[in-house]
């Protein structure tokens, strides 16, 4: 994985860690009931976790699949007994491994450097993580399905990523956005992932509608990309 996509590892492993370290060290009041964990960390950690999943799912994965298509790798597989869908599954597994590595890295860093507390609602955290991942990966499949070239895949992936991140609160709290925009952002995968992860970690109630939005994006994006996907 390192040898085949060195550049693709820089962002999911490097950027979240950098954001965490640069933002997590500020002086901010501790979250009530979570010993030592600051408000700042309670926001930045879930944000960089969602960021990691989004970079892998929406940027890396589609550019890989578009490259396979461009170089007719999928077409070659289509004339063997292998099903091309195996390639999608394999790519998703590689993406999961990348995202997992990036998340472990930031969580360990947050624990060692900033006294991160254990998540208040571990089960909720698992649900929020799983749904955020499926939603982002399904969006990535959609980007791969509609992109004619690797260059287009990268461009569409980056634009989608930044739009989701901006509306979801990745560049600062959504409270700074106009009300209507913030409301929409709360139900797009970045915002919904961020809020539910933050709630699970700090013990606030998980918003069922946001979890439902993540599940909805997963189902719709997966269905549409399955219809539109071209092997060549």
């Amino acid at each position: 994985m390192v040898r085949r996509d060195t550049a693709g590892l820089v962002i999911p492993l490097g950027l979240p860690l950098l954001l965490l370290v640069m933002n997590g060290s500020g002086d901010s009041p501790p979250v009530p009931g979570l010993d030592g964990m600051s408000q700042q960390l309670a926001y930045v950690l879930p944000m960089v976790i969602v960021l990691t999943i989004a970079t892998v799912g929406v940027i890396n994965m589609p550019s890989f699949l578009a490259t396979y298509r461009r170089y007719k790798i999928l077409r070659r597989l289509a004339v063997t007994p292998a099903r091309p869908s195996m390639v999608l599954v394999a790519q998703a597994v590689v993406g999961l491994a990348q995202a997992f590595a990036g998340i472990v890295l930031v969580v360990v860093a947050a624990a060692v450097l900033f006294g991160l507390s254990a998540p208040a609602d571990p089960l909720g955290l698992v649900v929020a993580l799983a749904l955020t991942t499926t939603a982002m990966f399904a969006l990535g499949m959609l980007v791969a399905a509609v992109s004619p070239t690797p260059n287009a895949a990268l461009a569409i992936g980056l634009v989608s990523f930044f739009v989701l991140m901006a509306l979801g609160g990745g560049f600062g709290p959504r409270g700074n956005l106009p009300d209507g925009v913030a409301a929409v952002g709360a139900y797009l995968p970045f915002g919904a992932g961020l809020d539910t992860l933050m709630a699970a970690w700090t013990g606030g109630p998980l918003d069922v509608v946001q979890l439902g939005a993540l599940a909805g994006v997963t189902v719709v994006a997966a269905a549409v990309s399955a219809r539109l996907f071209r092997w060549e």
Binding site: I73, R75, V79, T80, P81
Partner: protein
């Protein structure tokens, strides 16, 4: 029974007729050549046989299987080498052969196959570090690793030096000796003459002639002595597209009067 049966297939893309009523049979153990210029319909015909494209009309059977309806069964008995490389750069030759072997229930031993193809010492070499000839032999290995009964090889030796071509030809003769029926797409006459039992010459979506290499030569020139090159050129007609490079490039920077004179000259010549 013929191993490959092609009956009156037609295929068009929009206004372009790619294949216009092609019929032929390939017998068991034969090396059957598909010869023609670029755009003659060779690759479309072969892709229809492989099940990658559906013909607009007509019938194709490979070992009695319909390439579209029975594509799953066909995949296990048909080995394919595509015109383009289609392999990821940062995988090693050994990894690729083992990966492709894993797709088939029954297949050749990857290490032995690499050895037979002279890639023994390239097992741990990345695809993008292989030479053209080595890459071609690797793609042949991938076409053969599932122990196919029929192999389709598309532009096998394009871009290879003469030595690598000759080695590849010997290899193909060995594959045939092992009982594999081969459909060979090429636009090299010497390759077709050396390897093929019979050749279908494609021209503008149709088969202009179908015969043994010697038969094709005799057909155009009465008896031997001429080459397959000349026979091929006679059968596929002159290049009638465009007005020639002179007309396209000539006249640049000329004023109106010169251009008129140029046109007049053109008429005298034609």
């Amino acid at each position: 029974m013929a191993v490959i049966e092609v009956r009156d297939i037609h295929k068009r893309y929009g206004d372009t007729v790619a294949v216009d009523g092609v019929c032929f049979d390939v017998e068991a153990g034969e090396i059957f050549g598909v010869l023609g210029r670029n755009g003659a319909g060779k690759t479309t015909t072969v892709e229809i046989i492989e099940g990658l494209r559906t013909p607009d009309s007509g019938l194709v059977r490979v070992l009695g299987l319909d390439p579209v309806r029975d594509h799953r069964a066909l995949r296990t008995v048909l080995g394919v080498q595509l015109q383009e490389g289609a392999l990821p750069d940062k995988a090693t030759a050994g990894e690729m052969v083992r990966l492709y072997r894993s797709f088939y229930a029954d297949g050749a031993d990857p290490d032995r196959l690499l050895g037979e193809l002279g890639l023994d010492d390239k097992r741990d070499t990345f695809v993008d570090e292989l030479s053209g000839g080595q890459l071609q032999r690797l793609s042949i290995a991938l076409a053969l690793v599932g122990k196919p009964r029929v192999a389709v090889l598309d532009e096998l030796t394009s871009g290879l030096d003469p030595r690598a071509c000759r080695d590849t030809w010997e290899l193909i003769e060995q594959v045939r000796a092992a009982g594999v029926t081969i459909l060979l797409v090429t636009h090299f006459m010497d390759e077709a003459q050396r390897l093929c039992d019979r050749i279908a010459v494609f021209d503008r979506g149709r088969i202009a002639a179908l015969d043994t290499p010697d038969g094709l030569v005799a057909r155009t020139h009465g008896r031997g002595g001429a080459s397959l090159d000349e026979a091929f050129l006679a059968m596929t007609g002159a290049d009638d597209e465009g007005d020639g490079l002179d007309d396209v490039l000539g006249g640049a920077g000329l004023d109106e009067a010169d251009r008129a004179r140029g046109d007049a000259d053109g008429q005298v010549w034609s």
